[in-house]
């Protein structure tokens, strides 16, 4: 502990850590950290359960191993971000932002790879990189920095400047097209704008524009038919493309059939027989619901609620607007992704390709989300310095 603490930035300057009650390392939010770790553990179990294969006696651990690697990478990134003073990110934000935009531009160029109809990945040997996941963090950093710079007085001109920050990556993401990530981007932008002090009438106007955009998007030829169906099938599960209605129905069956106590780990028939599609990624909540039941799924939601509460509380406790807005960005992203992802598996939200934070398999998403938690921790730890 001593040697570890000794590497914290700032602590060395202050000499002995024991004597400095404001030392950042003393203010790590253990509840936030513990909850995220618990969620990641549940996620690891469920990723394993849904990818271990149906062969009795022999378990396929290849996906599990990759998932653990992603978690390790995510944890490392979280630790690094936590150690850095969040105020220094203000300086790094433009560089990070420009880099991510360049990657997004690259991914829609022939350099990117197409998976499931969306050109959203770079294939780097065995690793798939999804720049849009990092774009969310870049936008949070950019908006929070700019918002803090503007203070609470945001007029139309400043609003327009703020909107260009998510605007550029949003356009690039829609070119992939990846409506799920785009909606998350919109959600976290709205969250930051609300708290940053954008006037209520502007917020209302923006919401109207957003709604029009969604309707326009659905009625335009911009999205593939299957993407439109995925987005609208939850409104009318008996209509739509057969496959989408089928997937949604199987997803609900998986969760519903879990009952109160669940079928037991590795015993979910929908999960083990691969009846639900994309189960280790976007539909992992169905595995939780089926195998761990209401008890397990509700526990997971409670853990998420604790994480969200802690992030909200840290925003409240933050000593400056930058900290508030960073937390609000992460909060909005988390809340929206959780609601959107779990809601879609239960048939109350459209089907979009958004991962369940800390649970779904996926490298870029895991790393980006842990980085987000790191940001929040950094804000919390430095509320006195």
């Amino acid at each position: 502990m001593e040697s570890f603490a000794g590497r914290w930035p700032g602590t060395t300057r202050a000499g002995s850590m024991r004597r400095n009650p404001a030392a950042p390392w003393r203010h790590v939010d253990l509840l936030l950290l513990g909850s995220v770790v618990c969620i990641a553990l549940i996620g690891t179990l469920m990723v394993f359960s849904s990818t271990r294969g149906a062969e009795p006696g022999v378990a396929d651990t290849s996906i599990l191993e990759r998932h653990l690697t992603f978690l390790a990478a995510g944890g490392t990134v979280m630790a690094l971000v936590t150690m850095a003073d969040y105020r220094r990110f203000r300086d790094w934000a433009p560089i990070f932002y420009i880099g991510v935009c360049a990657l997004l531009l690259g991914v829609v160029s022939p350099l990117g790879s197409e998976v499931n109809g969306a050109q959203a990945w770079f294939q780097l040997g065995p690793i798939q990189l999804q720049p849009s996941e990092f774009a969310k963090i870049a936008v949070i950093l950019g908006l929070a920095s700019l918002g803090a710079h503007f203070g609470n007085d945001i007029d139309v001109r400043r609003l327009a400047v703020l909107l260009t920050v998510p605007g550029i990556p949003l356009v690039l993401i829609m070119l992939q097209p990846d409506p799920g990530t785009a909606i998350v981007m919109v959600a976290l932008t709205m969250g930051i704008l609300v708290v940053a002090g954008v006037r209520a009438k502007h917020i209302a106007a923006l919401s109207l524009v957003g709604l029009t955009a969604v309707v326009g998007l659905l009625s335009s030829g911009f999205l593939e038919d299957y993407q439109k169906d995925r987005l609208t099938v939850f409104l009318n599960p008996s209509a739509g493309l057969q496959a989408e209605a089928y997937n949604l129905n199987q997803s609900k069956i998986a969760i519903g059939s879990g009952g109160v106590l669940g079928k037991g780990l590795f015993n979910g028939t929908q999960t083990q027989l691969d009846i639900v599609p994309e189960q280790h990624t976007d539909f992992i909540f169905t595995a939780v619901g089926e195998e761990l039941g209401f008890v397990g799924a509700a526990t997971l939601l409670v853990l998420f609620a604790i994480v969200v509460w802690r992030v909200w509380r840290i925003a409240q406790l933050s000593r400056d607007q930058l900290g508030v807005l960073l937390c609000v960005g992460v909060l909005s992203m988390l809340v929206f992704q959780i609601f959107q992802n779990a809601g879609m598996t239960m048939g109350i939200m459209p089907i979009t390709g958004i991962p369940l934070p800390f649970v779904s398999y996926g490298g870029s998403s895991t790393i980006a989300l842990f980085a987000g938690v790191g940001l929040v921790q950094s804000v919390h730890m430095r509320r006195f310095t």
């Binding site: 028939t269 039941g293 939601l301 998420f304 508030v324």
Partner: protein, 688 residues
């Protein structure tokens, strides 16, 4: 300034409330799915993962009354073609495949041509849903070859199927019936049976196979597979899988040796009839069809039920072609599919006199001793012209006859007068007095034997004639009933029709003193592999009783025994060296006239007369005199029943042989000849 600080806090609060609302929505939805509607989702999940495949159970066996296996099962290897996949094949691949298949079938000992295969694939008698069998009973080697060269034979499959096996060939075919693929109608009818049916299953179509279907059919098992999203089996779910349970065994009342003997005698008698010279003014005997029924008068059990011509139930294995089926039902082939014992309707001729006589005595029109003078012809009183004169066969005059003698010599005149008297007494007895008594012996109605498609015969009445005429005035010549109609009916002519089993049952009812049983054809049902476990047993079923005065009965028996024993009896010469003292046979010959055909020869008998244990009825179409053609069959059977001749032994395949002598040594020089050939040694009797 305070507003500036308050504002972000307020806005953060709004964000918090939004977050809480969203989480509440998730919890609510989760509660709804997992707690409130969990049950229906659980059902859906089960249905998702499980595919159930029905496994047919072996069908029960059919045994004779001693437990000899008459029908069981064997495995047949069948080559099938899936029509849907076959239709999807492109030319020339389709023809190439057929050519290869025909070559391989031929090479492996099941010769076939491409044309034959095409005919089979296109044959409409096969269900559209199941693969079409194109070759049956192919060798194991061919199965292996085709399976190893799967790619060369698209749409072709080789399967093992359980099919019926008939160890005695065509023996008792009409009683047993046959099985075939279930049709839409049967499937509909049997939807709620515990032993479930699916398309392609076998079901009893006729005979015992049909009537005892519920016993014979095994309980299909099921194999439950857990399947993945593609429907591919992942593993077998033992908990949900059940093994098939073989069907139960049905024991017949039939004795297979007696049955086979009756069949051989029937075929031989018909052949003899065909070869018999007839006088120029008679139509030649075609001897084309007939029936022999043997029952036990004490309980109504059917010991043998033969029908000619026969068909081979083995032809129905793996399905029968439309052409073959058409042949089996065609008039030209005398419809071998018919079980004439219950489906053939014949004028009973003089065999009917038993019932006319009993009716006359019961109604007081005659006493046993009352005599008339038989001058060879009978004239209806007050009627003039040829249509009022009724003659004996051959215009023979029998002189003074009472009831006994009239039966023995078969005096038509005696019974003509009874018929006329019944009509004359209609004011007192009613118009249908004769029919009413006859009906009590089981005529004009089904006997109730548990076999399908039984006919009920005909017993015309004045009332019926009126109704028929009024319904179709152009179709019937006559609306009124005349004395002559009664006269004709009295000797079993004039549109009276009976089935051989009805006639047998009528004689059995008389023989046992008046108890009319519904004939039984099955004894019991036992569990497969456990002959001691009786699941059902079929007790004698009493269908009615006839009050018979013992004196009248004795007089009638005397007359019937006279038929086989007394001077002038119509079958006396046939029974000349029979042990009449110890085993007297009471019988009656019949020679029924049929328009445009040679006479139907009949003989109905029971014995021993004092304590009847066997009732034998023979009906031979277009075969001449009953005494000549039919009585020898009864004689040969009674030889065995009386112990004069040994019961022959049945060989695999169904052939009968004389059993070796009791001491085990075959006398040198004696051939093991067909028991039926003994018919030739039995002296042929006189007239009717």
């Amino acid at each position: 300034m305070s507003q500036r600080i308050e504002s972000p806090r307020l806005r953060l609060g709004v964000l918090g409330i939004v977050a809480i609302a969203l989480f509440v929505a998730l919890f609510a939805r989760l509660w709804y799915l997992q707690v409130l509607s969990s049950e229906s989702y659980l059902e859906a999940a089960e249905a998702n993962r499980i595919r159930i495949v029905q496994v047919e159970a072996p069908r029960g066996r059919i045994l004779d009354r001693d437990g000899t296996v008459v029908v069981d099962n064997r495995v047949s290897i069948v080559v099938t073609v899936d029509r849907v996949r076959f239709a999807d094949l492109e030319e020339p691949e389709r023809m190439d495949m057929l050519r290869r298949l025909a070559d391989e079938l031929t090479r492996y000992g099941s010769p076939a041509t491409v044309d034959q295969l095409i005919d089979r694939v296109n044959d409409q008698r096969y269900s559209r849903y199941a693969p079409v069998p194109v070759a049956e009973d192919v060798t194991e080697e061919l199965k292996i070859y085709i399976e190893e060269h799967e790619a060369l034979f698209p749409s072709v499959a080789v399967e093992r199927v359980a099919v019926r096996r008939y160890p005695f060939g065509t023996r008792a075919a009409h009683v047993i019936g046959y099985v075939g693929e279930i049709n839409d109608e049967e499937l509909e009818e049997r939807q709620n049976k515990p032993k479930t049916y699916i398309r392609g299953n076998q079901i009893g179509k006729t005979g015992i196979e049909r009537i005892y279907e519920d016993d014979l059919r095994g309980m299909p098992g099921q194999t439950a597979f857990e399947v993945d999203a593609n429907g591919d089996p992942v593993r077998i779910l033992e908990d949900l899988s059940t093994p098939p349970i073989p069907g139960d065994d049905v024991w017949l009342t039939i004795d297979i040796e007696t049955q086979a003997l009756a069949e051989d005698l029937l075929a031989q008698a018909l052949e003899d009839a065909r070869n018999r010279r007839v006088s120029a003014n008679n139509l030649p005997n075609r001897g084309n069809a007939g029936s022999v029924v043997v029952t036990d008068p004490r309980n109504g059990e059917v010991l043998a039920m033969a029908s000619f011509p026969v068909y081979d139930p083995g032809d129905f294995i793996n399905g029968i072609s439309s052409k073959e089926y058409e042949y089996l039902t065609s008039k030209e082939a005398d419809a071998p599919i018919l079980n004439r014992a219950i489906q053939g309707e014949y004028a009973p001729g003089s065999t009917f006199k038993l019932f006319t006589g009993m009716a006359a005595m019961a109604s007081g029109l005659r006493t046993p001793d009352q005599t008339i003078n038989d001058t060879g012809a009978f004239t209806i009183e007050g009627c003039r012209g040829e249509q009022c004169r009724f003659r004996n066969a051959g215009s023979k005059a029998y002189g003074i006859v009472d009831m006994r003698r009239a039966m023995t010599v078969s005096s038509d005149v005696y019974f003509y007068s009874i018929g006329a008297d019944f009509w004359d007494a209609r004011g007192r007895l009613g118009e249908e007095a004769l029919q009413e008594v006859v009906r009590r012996f089981g005529f004009d109605q089904e006997t109730g034997v548990p076999l399908p498609s039984e006919q009920d015969g005909r017993l015309p009445t004045p009332q019926q004639r009126k109704e028929q005429y009024d319904a179709n005035p152009g179709l019937f010549a006559e609306r009124n009933w005349y004395t002559g109609d009664n006269v004709n009916m009295a000797i079993g002519q004039g549109d009276v029709a009976v089935t051989p089993l009805q006639l047998a049952n009528g004689y059995a009812t008389f023989a046992n003193g008046g108890t009319r049983y519904a004939p039984n054809i099955a004894l019991k049902v036992t569990r497969s592999g456990s002959p001691e476990t009786v699941k059902r047993s079929f007790e004698p079923r009493i269908n009615g009783r006839v009050d018979i005065d013992p004196t009248q009965r004795q007089a009638m028996i005397d007359g019937l025994v006279g038929v086989t024993t007394r001077e002038g009896g119509t079958a006396t010469s046939t029974f000349s060296d029979f042990p009449n003292d110890t085993f007297p046979v009471a019988g009656k010959t019949g020679t029924a006239q049929v328009n445009g055909k040679a006479d139907t020869a009949l003989f109905a008998a029971f014995g021993p007369a004092q304590d009847p244990r066997f009732q034998v009825t023979i009906v031979l179409e277009e075969s001449g005199f009953g005494g000549t053609a039919a009585a020898p069959v009864a004689r040969a059977l009674f030889d065995v029943f009386a112990g004069v001749a040994p019961m022959p032994e049945i060989q695999p395949g169904g052939a009968l042989v004389e059993p070796p002598p009791a001491d085990g040594e075959v006398e040198p020089g004696t051939d093991l000849e067909s028991p039926a050939s003994r018919l030739d040694q039995i002296a042929e009797g006189g007239a009717d």
